[in-house]
C-alpha cells in the first residue's frame, strides 16, 4: 500500500491525521464540536505496535458478544460493523463526522463510527442499534419512535435513536430544548424532527 493511501480524495485532509488530532470523535454534534468527549478516551494505552497494511484480526466486544474481525487497519468502525460484522443498522451518510447517522456507543458514549478506526476501539464495548433491544425487548425510545412516527425514510433513525437514548441516560428529565441540543448534529433530510422531539420526551415520561 502506498503511503498516501488513506488520503481522502473528497475532503482534503487525511482521515488518519485528523484522527491523530482529535482522538475518537464524539457524535451528537457537528464537526466543530467533535473531540469534546475525546479526553475520556485518551487514557488508552499507547501500544506502539505497527499494524498493516495487510488485514489484521482484531477482537471487539459488540453488543455483548466478542467478535473476531479480519480488517485492514484503515477500516473505520462503521465499515467494520457494516461490512465485516453484518450489522448494517448503523448507517454511513456523510462519512466525515457531520451528520451523526453512524452514531454508536463506545463504553456507553455516543461516537461517530465513521470517524473512528476499528483498531482504536480496543477492549471497549461497542453498542449499536441492533444491541439496543436485547432479546427483542425494545428500548423505550424505540417504542416511542414507533408510536409517534419519528421516522419517514428511516435512514437517520438508528443514529437518531442512539443519540436520544443516550440523552435519556444522562438526563432523565429533558426539556424540548435539551432534546434539540442533543440531536443538533443528527441530520434528518425528510424533516422528521418534530416527531423525534415528541417521541424522546414521551419516552422520558414513560421511563420515570
Amino acid at each position: 500500500m502506498k503511503e498516501d493511501s488513506n488520503k481522502s480524495d473528497t475532503n482534503g485532509f487525511t482521515r488518519r491525521k485528523f484522527l491523530r488530532g482529535a482522538g475518537i470523535t464524539t457524535a451528537g454534534s457537528v464537526l466543530l464540536n467533535t473531540g469534546l468527549l475525546a479526553a475520556d478516551f485518551h487514557s488508552a494505552p499507547e501500544t506502539g505496535i505497527y499494524m498493516g497494511p495487510d488485514a489484521v484480526t482484531v477482537q471487539m466486544q459488540i453488543n455483548g458478544q466478542m467478535e473476531h474481525l479480519t480488517i485492514e487497519p484503515r477500516t473505520t468502525l462503521a465499515t467494520a460493523l457494516r461490512d465485516h460484522a453484518g450489522l448494517t443498522g448503523t448507517k454511513v451518510v456523510c462519512d466525515r463526522g457531520s451528520c451523526s447517522a453512524c452514531t454508536v456507543w463506545i463504553d456507553g458514549k455516543p461516537v461517530n463510527s465513521c470517524m473512528t478506526l476499528a483498531i482504536d476501539v480496543g477492549g471497549r464495548e461497542v453498542t449499536t442499534i441492533e444491541g439496543l433491544a436485547p432479546g427483542g425487548n425494545l428500548h423505550p425510545v424505540q417504542e416511542a419512535f414507533i408510536e409517534h412516527d419519528a421516522s419517514q425514510c428511516g435512514y437517520c433513525t438508528p443514529g437518531m435513536i442512539m443519540t436520544c437514548a443516550h440523552l435519556l441516560k444522562e438526563n432523565p428529565n429533558p426539556t424540548l430544548e435539551d432534546v434539540k441540543i442533543a440531536t443538533r448534529g443528527n441530520l434528518c433530510r425528510c424533516g422528521t424532527y418534530p416527531h423525534v422531539f415528541k417521541a424522546t420526551l414521551a419516552a422520558a415520561d414513560k421511563m420515570k
Binding site: D83, K91, C99, C153, P158
Partner: protein
C-alpha cells in the same frame, strides 16, 4: 362496461358537505362514508414497517450484502470541460483486491467529453470499498481542458463556451411538468422558450391587460440551486446472472429502473427484477439509475459477481440531481378593486447539462387572470444535471408569485390574506385560509414596518396549488389465504411516505381487520406494475385499485359463505374480524374461520386504476380539482446580526380523503422543514474559476438541523371530490411549495425590506437594511 349509480359524500365537512350521484363501474365497491364513520382509514395508525426501522433490521439497498459481492467506486471528472486523450488503468488493475475496471465510452468506443466536475469517467470493482477507492485514485486521466462557464448570466452571452452545440434530448424529470421544449429551440446555451403547459398556453392579450391595470408589480425574483441530499445516496446492488439481472435499487420507481436497464442492455423486461424494500430518501431525484446503474451492471457482468455501487456523498451532490435555480421576472397588473388583469412571466434557470428549469405553472394556474403569457428558458452550464425536486418548478415559481401578490396587496392597501380571499377562486383554499388564520391568529398581522427595535417580528402567508395526477398503469393484487393471512401486493415502492401502511389500512377497512393484521409486499417488479413515487401521484393512483382488489377478493369469499347460508353475497358485511349477515343476526362467522372454509387455498383478485368517476380533465390522468395549501409563517429577524429565525409555521393542506393522519403530518412537517431550509440556508456554491462545487458535504452545504426547526402546526382539511373509491391523494409535493414564499413575506413584514433572493442569509438581510443594493 356495466355500471351502476352510487351516491358519494361530496365537498368539505363542516363547510359544504353534500352528496353527489356518480355512475361507477359495477364491480367497484360501494361509496365509503366520510372518515369519522370508518374504522381504519382516516385514523392514526403506526407504520407497518416502523419496528424494522427503529431496530436497524430494515435492509436498504446500501445494506444488501450478497455472497461474493464486490464493492464498486466511480471515478469522476475533476475538470468541468475537457476531451479525454487517454485513460491509464494499468496500475489500478494491478492493485490486489481489484477485480474489474470499467471505462465509460461512447458507442464508437471514444471517450465521452467531460461536461461537468463529477461526471463519471471510469469505475472499479474490488473486494472492499477502501480498495476500490484506492484503485480509482490510481487511474490516470489525461484531460485536454477546454473553456467553460458556470454562472447562468455569463452562460447566456453569445461568446460563452457552448455546453452542447446541437439540440439535446430533454431530461424527462428535470423540472416543471408539462408540454416543454425539447432543447432544439434557442441559441447557444440559451434553450427554449417553453410557452405552454398542459393547463393551456398563453391566453388573452397582455398589452390590453396591462393597459386596464391600475397598479402593476414588476420584479425579478431569484432562487439558488438546491441539492437533494437524500441520506441514502443513489445506488444499486446488481447481480447479473445468465438467467437474468436482479437489481436492488434505492429508487422512487422500481418499474422505471427495470425499463431503463432492460432498454440499456436490450433485455426482455421479464429478465430484469428490481427490488426496493426500504429506501433512504429521494425527493424527486431517484427515478433513474443512470449513469451509475449501467456501470454496476457491466461490472457485475465482467466479474460474474454481485456488485454494490452506492454514490459517495460528494458524488451525490455533483451528479445525482439538483433543483435548478431561477431568475424569475414577473409583471402582474390589477385593477383598483384588486382583480388581476395580466400576468407576464419570463424565467431563466440552469439544470446544468440538462434541461427542465421551467417555473411557470404557479403563475399560470394559481389565480384566474384573463391575460397571461410565459417564456421559460433553460440555460445550459457546465454543472451536474438537475432533476425533479419535490414540486419541480413550483417552489421557485411560488417564491416569486406569492411575493408579488403580497406586493400588489400592499399597493392596494389590503391585508394580504383578505386580498387572496378576493382573487382566489379555490373553494378548498378558502377553507384552508379560514382555518389556518384562526389557528395562527392572523388578526395579529400589522403592516410592514410596525415592528421596531433590534429584534423584529413578522408574519406572512403564502399559498400554492398542485394537480391531482393519476397514473392509470397502477395495479394491485390482494390475496387471501386459507391459513387466515390477508396480503396486498404491488410493484409500488414506499420511499418513506408510508405507502405500505395506507395500503394495509385500506385492505383492513375492507375486511374489517386491523391495519397491523394485513401483510404488505411491495417494492418488487415481480409484483404488478405501479407508478413511480413522483408528482404526489402514488396515493391517488394506488389506493383505489387497492380497495377495489380487496373488495373483489372479499366478494369472492362472501359468495362462498353466502352459498352456505343460502343467501346473497351482497347481504354480507365484514366487520371487527367477523363476517355478518346484515338482516339475520344469527348468521355470523369469524373471518379466520371463513377463510379456513375456502374451497381453494387462496383467492387472488387484482385491480387496476380505473378512470375517475365522471372522467378526467385530461384523459391521460389529470384529474379535476387540485390539492390546496396555505402556509402561515412567523419569523424573528435580528437587525444587528441579520439572522432570521422561523419561529412557527401553520400549514393548512388538503389531500382529498386523508388515509393516515400521522403520516400526513410527518410529510407536512418534512415539506415545511425543507422549505425553511431552502429559504434560509441551502445553496450549492460553485467556484466559477474551477467549476468545482465548494460545499459538497452536509456541513458546508447548510441544511436545517434540529436547532433550526420551527414549531409546526399542520391542519388537514378533509375534502371529498367523489372521483374514486378512496378519494385519497398524496401530500408530498404540496407540503413543500409555499414555505419559502411565506417565510419571505414574513421577513418583509418584519423589516420592511423585501428579499428578492434566497437563501435569505444574514449578509443579504444586512445589505437590504443598509440599502446597499442601490
Amino acid at each position: 362496461m356495466d355500471t351502476r349509480k352510487e351516491k358519494f359524500p361530496y365537498g368539505i365537512p363542516d363547510h359544504n358537505l353534500t352528496e353527489i350521484e356518480r355512475e361507477i363501474p359495477a364491480d367497484e365497491p360501494p361509496a365509503w362514508p366520510v372518515n369519522d364513520q370508518l374504522q381504519e382509514v382516516g385514523k392514526r395508525r403506526i407504520r407497518v414497517d416502523a419496528r424494522a426501522k427503529v431496530t436497524g433490521e430494515a435492509k436498504y439497498t446500501s445494506d444488501i450484502r450478497l455472497p461474493g459481492m464486490l464493492y464498486a467506486k466511480i471515478l469522476t471528472a475533476k475538470v468541468p470541460h475537457a476531451s479525454i486523450r487517454n485513460i491509464n488503468t494499468q496500475e489500478a488493475e494491478k492493485l490486489p483486491g481489484v477485480h474489474a475496471v470499467h471505462i465509460l465510452r461512447n458507442e464508437d468506443n471514444s471517450y465521452p467529453d467531460v461536461k461537468y466536475v463529477g461526471q463519471p469517467v471510469a469505475a472499479v470493482a474490488a473486494d472492499s470499498l477502501d480498495i476500490a477507492r484506492q484503485a480509482t485514485r490510481m487511474i490516470q486521466v489525461d484531460y485536454l481542458e477546454k473553456p467553460f462557464v458556470i454562472d447562468v448570466e455569463q452562460a447566456m452571452k453569445p461568446e460563452a463556451p457552448l455546453v452542447f452545440d446541437a439540440p439535446i434530448a430533454r431530461q424527462a424529470d428535470g423540472g416543471d411538468v408539462g408540454v416543454v421544449h425539447d432543447g432544439s429551440k434557442g441559441q447557444g446555451n440559451l434553450r427554449g422558450p417553453s410557452t405552454s403547459s398542459f393547463f393551456g398556453g398563453p391566453r388573452g392579450d397582455l398589452e390590453a391587460g396591462f393597459s386596464q391595470a391600475d397598479v402593476i408589480v414588476e420584479q425579478t425574483y431569484r432562487t439558488q440551486v438546491q441539492t437533494h441530499v437524500p441520506l441514502e445516496t443513489h445506488g444499486v446492488v446488481i447481480d447479473w446472472k445468465p438467467e437474468g439481472m436482479t437489481v436492488y435499487a434505492s429508487t422512487q420507481s422500481t418499474k422505471d429502473v427495470r425499463d431503463e436497464l432492460a432498454d440499456y442492455f436490450d433485455l426482455p423486461k421479464s429478465r430484469v427484477r428490481v427490488i426496493c424494500e426500504f429506501m433512504g430518501g429521494g425527493f424527486g431525484a431517484k427515478h433513474s439509475t443512470s449513469p451509475y446503474g449501467p456501470v454496476a451492471a457491466i461490472l457485475s457482468q465482467k466479474t460474474g459477481r454481485p456488485v454494490w455501487l452506492m454514490l459517495e456523498r460528494k458524488e451525490e451532490h455533483l451528479m445525482a440531481g439538483n433543483r435548478p435555480n431561477s431568475i424569475h421576472y414577473l409583471k402582474i397588473g390589477a385593477k383598483k378593486d384588486g382583480m388581476l388583469t395580466a400576468i407576464q412571466q419570463r424565467s431563466h434557470g440552469t439544470a446544468g447539462v440538462a434541461l427542465g428549469a421551467g417555473v411557470g405553472r404557479v403563475a399560470q394556474i394559481l389565480y384566474e387572470c384573463p391575460n397571461f403569457a410565459t417564456e421559460q428558458y433553460d440555460v445550459l452550464t457546465f454543472a451536474g444535471p438537475g432533476a425533479a425536486w419535490r414540486a419541480p418548478g413550483n417552489v421557485q415559481g411560488a417564491f416569486g408569485v406569492e411575493q408579488a401578490i403580497d406586493e400588489l396587496a400592499e399597493k392596494l392597501n389590503l391585508n394580504p390574506l383578505a386580498y387572496r380571499d378576493k382573487i382566489d377562486q379555490s373553494e378548498v383554499r378558502k377553507v384552508l385560509r379560514q382555518r389556518g388564520a384562526k389557528q395562527f391568529d392572523w388578526s395579529r398581522w400589522k403592516p410592514a414596518g410596525s415592528s421596531t427595535g433590534t429584534i423584529r417580528k413578522g408574519l406572512g402567508v403564502a399559498q400554492s396549488t398542485w394537480p391531482r395526477f393519476v397514473d392509470l398503469d397502477s395495479t394491485v393484487e390482494v390475496k387471501i389465504y386459507r391459513d387466515g393471512a390477508v396480503e396486498v401486493r404491488s410493484g409500488v415502492q414506499d420511499i418513506g411516505t408510508g405507502t405500505k401502511t395506507i395500503m394495509a389500512q385500506i385492505v383492513a377497512e375492507e375486511f374489517g381487520l386491523k391495519t397491523a393484521d394485513v401483510i404488505v409486499r411491495i417494492g418488487d417488479t415481480i409484483f404488478p406494475d405501479a407508478p413511480g413515487s413522483g408528482g404526489s401521484k402514488v396515493t391517488g393512483s394506488i389506493t383505489p385499485p387497492t380497495r377495489n382488489a380487496a373488495y373483489k377478493a372479499k366478494m369472492e369469499l362472501f359468495k362462498q359463505i353466502a352459498q352456505q347460508w343460502q343467501t346473497d353475497a351482497t347481504k354480507l358485511v365484514a366487520s371487527n374480524g367477523m363476517i355478518l349477515h346484515k338482516d339475520d343476526a344469527s348468521k355470523k362467522v369469524s373471518l379466520k374461520e371463513a377463510l379456513q372454509r375456502m374451497r381453494t387455498g387462496q383467492i387472488t383478485a387484482s385491480a387496476s386504476r380505473s378512470d375517475d368517476y365522471g372522467g378526467f380533465a385530461q384523459p391521460w390522468g389529470l384529474a379535476h380539482g387540485h390539492l390546496g395549501s396555505v402556509q402561515f409563517a412567523e419569523v424573528t429577524v435580528n437587525t444587528d446580526t441579520g439572522m432570521v429565525k422561523v419561529d412557527r409555521i401553520v400549514a393548512a393542506h388538503s389531500c382529498g380523503r386523508p388515509i393516515n393522519l400521522t403520516q400526513i403530518e410527518s410529510q407536512i412537517n418534512g415539506g415545511v422543514i425543507q422549505g425553511v431550509s431552502y429559504a434560509l440556508y441551502e445553496d450549492r456554491v460553485m467556484d466559477e474559476a474551477t467549476g468545482h462545487m465548494m460545499n459538497p458535504d452536509v456541513d458546508r452545504y447548510q441544511i436545517a438541523y434540529s436547532m433550526e426547526i420551527p414549531a409546526i402546526e399542520p391542519i388537514i382539511v378533509e375534502e371529498y371530490p367523489a372521483l374514486s373509491s378512496t378519494d385519497a391523494y398524496g401530500i408530498g409535493e404540496p407540503a413543500n411549495i409555499a414555505t419559502a414564499a411565506a417565510v419571505a413575506n414574513a421577513v418583509y413584514n418584519a423589516i420592511g425590506m423585501r428579499m428578492y433572493e434566497i437563501p435569505i442569509t444574514p449578509a443579504r438581510i444586512l445589505k437590504a437594511l443598509n440599502h446597499l443594493d442601490q
